[in-house]
Amino acid sequence: MNSETRPHSSDVLRPRNVGAAIKRTEDPRLLTGRGEYSADRKPDRPLHVAFLRSGQPHARIARIDTVAAQVSPGVVAVFTAENLAGDFKPVIPFSRMPNYYATPIVPLATGKVRYVGEAVAAVIATSRYLAEDALELIDVDYEPLGALSRAETAIAGDAALLHEEAGTNVLIAREFKKGDVAADLKAAAVRVSGRFEMTRKAPLAMEPRSYTAEYDKRRDAVTLYTSSNIPGIVRDAICESLDLPGHRLRVVAPDVGGSFGSKGSLYPEELLICIAARKLGRSLKWTADRLEDVSSSSQAFAEIVDAEMGFDANGIATSLQADVIGDVGAYSIYPWTCGLEPVQVVSFLPGPYKIASYRGAVRGVATCKPPTGPYRGVGRPISTFVAERLMDLGAKALGLDPLEIRRRNLIPAEEFPYRIASGIIWDKTGFVECLEAAAEAVGYEQLRAQQADARKHGRLFGIGIASYAELTGIGSRIAVAPGMPINTGSETAKITIDSTGAITAAFGVASHGQGLETTLAQIVADDLGARFEDVRVIQGDSDEVPMSTGTYASRSAVLGGGAAKHASRILQDKIKRVASHLLEANQDDIEVLDGKAVVIGTDRAVTFKQVAKAVYSDMKTLPVEAREELTGTYTYDPINGTTAAATHIAVVEVDPLTCFVQILKYVVAEDCGRIINPMIVDGQVHGGVAQGIGAALFEELVYDDDGQLLSASLVDYVIPSAPEVPAMDVVHIESESAVAGGFRGMGEGGTIGAPAAIANAIADALSPLGIDVSILPMTPERIFKLMEQTRLNARGKADE
């Protein structure tokens, strides 16, 4: 049969799983309380860990007296840095970046405490209650060294040093340059600038951090069940620290109740629990309470950006410069380093815009607070906030509509791939398409008319636009974190059909709420030719694949998905080879579909079960050399990665009496390439925007000048709840991407666009009063203060 006459594969016709709004496989179990989180593990007679945490921001530990705690009822052991000294090597968050100091990571504070909430001692007891009773009996003598509570003051020459070995509190300094910014700014027709700030934020996953270390006496081995989104990295780091081979430390991320980045770094408590389990030969459990989670998990933002943008008379942005101070907290984190968040701010600041010259400088400054770390969007929520505020300020100065100024400055289709100043390359993405689609969906022209009418009645009605681009599914050519030595550019899928015909697809990527169990199964089902419901996905288990780094940086659909596609094809080829023996047909005439190999155009078929039987059990059917194990393994590396982009438009009204902001309308037009599951994509956008609303209007970790956290409980740390999150419209632009499957990462975008869009909308609403928005969150208190200031100024003018 030649290709013309051969019946076409039904590939194109059959309903495919990829692209379908399939309900999430994990939801029935998670929603009915049948999920299994780390804290649900029930090892044999586990002991419970409780941590004594520093109440001091910065102090020398002169003495720790644990005698009374050790004899407290139920206590098995009390650990301090002193009695763990020989049990591990510090973990170093290494980077090749110049001007960077890597603070060593150790299980318990050693010599000094550097923030309120840092673990100083650990009590191991037969119950958490008894462990917490014993904590009260530990006596620590601190010699206070003075809190470093603000980055701006920690930079000062006479400031105390948090890490003496570093010789400075500036743990990282970096600068990117392109063109001659000074000259371009000088030549600019219009220059706009501001000092912008996003305050410190908690990622606040619903499940606090939680670890269960199960000790296996037979092999002196440990299985760590961790609420982590990087179980593979945790495995590698702890193996190195404890000098263990990987087959004696298995690290599993079971069901994980959200991370948003807060579970995406190695934690001292993970080291401690593994060390203690081995020392005591017992299984151990620890779950952070909310206070511990808020005060010791990695935090977000905390940056101040002085930025300026120059435009020519046509409204084309010609130049951009920024100086960023990041308050990175007390330690650099593993593996991302303290550079991750602040350096990304300057890497991404030019965003989706064509700007000829750029200078972005950043300093990451150590302070007495928990480390900042990855947080959904990393650096880009604030880089987008700054760039989008500047765009609006520019539009205002030039008398242009905010939509129009973006039209003039977004990188147009014909200029991709486009390299921005920091070296990031945008592949072809629908930047302009997203802008236009969002404007159309929100009814932009009509909204402006509505606004004019509202203003006539004294209403504070505003419309805010934010466009951004992000790099997702990053391959091995680029380090996810600057100068980081570990490879984050590949992921492995291993797909197996066992002797019963069952399909298991194992990955190192780890879902902490994204729905990968569903989306990866959709991909495998299509590319293998299986039924969706027959594919079991295993993920987040270091025993399943030789190496993995996990789920972060919007990579798992791209890297895990790409690996799934390739591994599925390898396995499908094996199935075809076996089937061609069994069906006595040419391999090319066989298609694999719905768990069967079929001779195209006939009813001759064998099921996966029959194929498996022939390969594994039945010694007669196949020649020995045709009995290939039914497994396909592939490690996928997209090399560069791929861009994702979106435009958000928010419509708000500010109540002049209460100073509250109400979001009246919210539209997102996003380009995540080929959509695997539209329901999941919408859910990710909704959740991301909800978090962005938190950053824009509510959430703020307040540390006082003594380094004490004032908003440590959910009474004081205010997050948006259902009534504060509006209904949203999500428009999808599925532009082609060169990576396997055409997928682009999209788990973070909602959080990147929303703060900027809402900030611009509030600024637009308040513009009749001459008020600018330069700090987030815009709480009613802040809006009140700004409005008061305007009232005072007006009164002052009237008096003159």
Binding site: E132, D133, E292, F698, L710, P780, E781, F784, E788
Partner: protein, 289 residues
């Protein structure tokens, strides 16, 4: 975040509960809905030796009409008050305020006795007990006595009870009113108020005959503004009246500031809410928002 060790008793009569508290020698604590007490126990901010659980005392849960008063048992849940037709018709300001008390799940457990005893400066029921001049019936080792709401709240989270005392019931006199309002601003629906005001007026053809005003969220305890009430008596009702009322309220209160709202912002909110509240109170019943 686990409580320190305590003993637990679950009496079924008030007498037994008081006896259990007496036996605890000042180290006992009453458990009602637990919505405020449990966090305090978990943070070890309170460490009673004995927890006396009132939830088994049936006689403490009721809402009944007693002549010109409504009596509410201390263990009556917020949700029952919110849904009670008797409260809606006789204590309408309370009925309007109840949906601002926390969230449904908390209202299902939280009790009026617990809310009053906890004495949060931004809690609705303490303010309403002032507005209505409620009287609390309290039982201690030497029997029952009555405490006026205005004597009950001493400071933030502090009431005037002795450690052996239990609030048994609260009586709310029904107000002679033909206008009222309840206004509140909270960060999110169900949060403790940043500022709130309750107003009740008896108006004649063109003047205020009598008025009650209470505020919360702005001081260490809820406040009844008797001075303002005096200034309102006999005042003419006209278009400027809500503005004037707003000024009277803000000049008689000096708001506290905290993490959630500065003193200036609370003061501003209170003024705005006062104006709105008076507008609503003076509006004809049919015009009510």
């Amino acid at each position: 975040m686990k409580p320190a060790k305590f003993d637990y008793v679950a009496p079924t009569t008030v007498d037994a509960a008081v006896e259990a508290l007496r036996a605890a020698n000042g180290e006992g604590k009453v458990l009602a809905g637990g919505q405020s007490l449990l966090p305090l126990l978990n943070f070890r901010m309170t460490r009673p030796a004995v927890l006396v659980d009132l939830n088994g005392i049936r006689e403490l849960s009721f809402i009944e009409l007693r002549g010109d008063r409504v009596a509410i048992g201390a263990l009556t849940r917020h949700r029952e008050i919110e849904q009670s037709p008797l409260i809606a018709s006789k204590l309408p300001v309370m009925a309007a305020a109840m949906r601002h008390v926390a969230h449904l799940a908390i209202r299902n457990r939280g009790t009026i006795g617990g809310s009053l005893s906890h004495a949060d400066p931004a809690a609705e029921l303490p303010m309403l007990s002032l507005l209505y001049s409620a009287s609390l019936s309290v039982q201690g080792p030497s029997g029952r006595r009555t405490i006026a709401a205005e004597d009950f709240f001493v400071d933030a989270l502090t009431n005037c009870l002795e450690p052996e005392d239990i609030v048994v019931e609260i009586e709310f006199p029904i107000l002679q009113q033909n206008g009222w309002a309840f206004e509140e601003v909270a960060r999110r629906f169900g949060d403790f108020a940043l500022a709130s005001i309750a107003v009740s007026v008896r108006r004649g053809a063109s003047t205020i005959k009598d008025a009650r005003v209470a505020v919360m969220g702005v001081a260490d305890t809820p406040l009844r503004l008797k001075e303002v009430e005096g200034q309102l008596r006999g005042i003419a009702i006209d278009d400027q009246m809500p503005d004037r009322f707003s000024e009277l309220v803000t000049s008689s209160v000096s708001a506290n500031g905290d993490l959630h709202a500065s003193a200036e912002y609370r003061q501003h909110l209170l003024g705005q809410l006062a104006r709105r509240a008076m507008q609503t109170a003076l509006a004809a019943e049919s015009d009510r928002r």
